[in-house]
């Protein structure tokens, strides 16, 4: 079981219920690809340093997950089909750092 950090950018015109739906769908996707959620964090609505799909702001979600390496591929496929997600990034890490992350401390 490898450890990954996932950062997901959600489009800003989502209402709070939509965001909750997106979060639940991510967790459901994680469980049915045999992954475990270690911790999650919400960086909230941040303004982007450059426009992505002509959005100026985005909701940032940060997840620490444990999953088989090859299961990540189908997660990526499903995440790319979801047009509410502007951008996502999976990073393999040796061990999870403890929250809150540096970004939230500022």
């Amino acid at each position: 079981m490898n450890k990954f950090e996932a950062v997901v950018l959600l489009s800003p015109d989502l209402s709070s219920t939509n965001i909750q739906e997106q979060e639940d769908s991510f967790k459901k996707l994680l469980t049915n690809s045999e992954g475990a959620l270690h911790a999650s964090e919400d960086w909230g609505l941040r303004d982007l340093s450059y426009n992505i799909k002509n959005n100026k702001k985005a909701f940032y979600k940060f997840y620490q997950i444990e999953i088989e390496g090859n299961k990540i591929q189908d997660m990526k496929k499903i995440l790319t089909q979801n047009e509410k997600i502007l951008r996502y990034l999976f990073i393999k890490v040796k061990n999870h750092e403890d929250l809150p992350t540096k970004l939230l401390k500022e």
Binding site: L89, K102, L103, E106
Partner: protein, 83 residues
């Protein structure tokens, strides 16, 4: 043979160079720590070379990867320093 004394007050005496990331309590490089990363980019948002910042090559590689990740996630800009 230059003796130790007159070499000391020689203006061109090279200052002892050290890598800011390879000391005992030096900060860890992390793509989320944008304040630390933005110290190592130029005004135009480009990564400053290690010959100027005295960063060791291994840490410079980690630093550039972290900066590129932060740029991909729009935490940092590609073209200017503090966005």
């Amino acid at each position: 043979m230059k003796s130790r004394e007159d070499r000391k007050n020689n203006p061109f005496e090279e200052r002892k160079k050290f890598c800011p990331f390879s000391q005992q309590n030096s900060p860890k490089i992390n793509y989320k720590d944008i304040r630390l990363l933005s110290r190592y980019i130029s005004e135009k948002g480009k990564i400053t070379p290690s010959r100027i910042t005295n960063v060791s090559s291994k840490k410079q590689k980690e630093l550039s990867n972290a900066i590129k990740r932060a740029r991909f996630l729009a935490l940092m800009s590609y073209t200017q320093k503090n966005s």
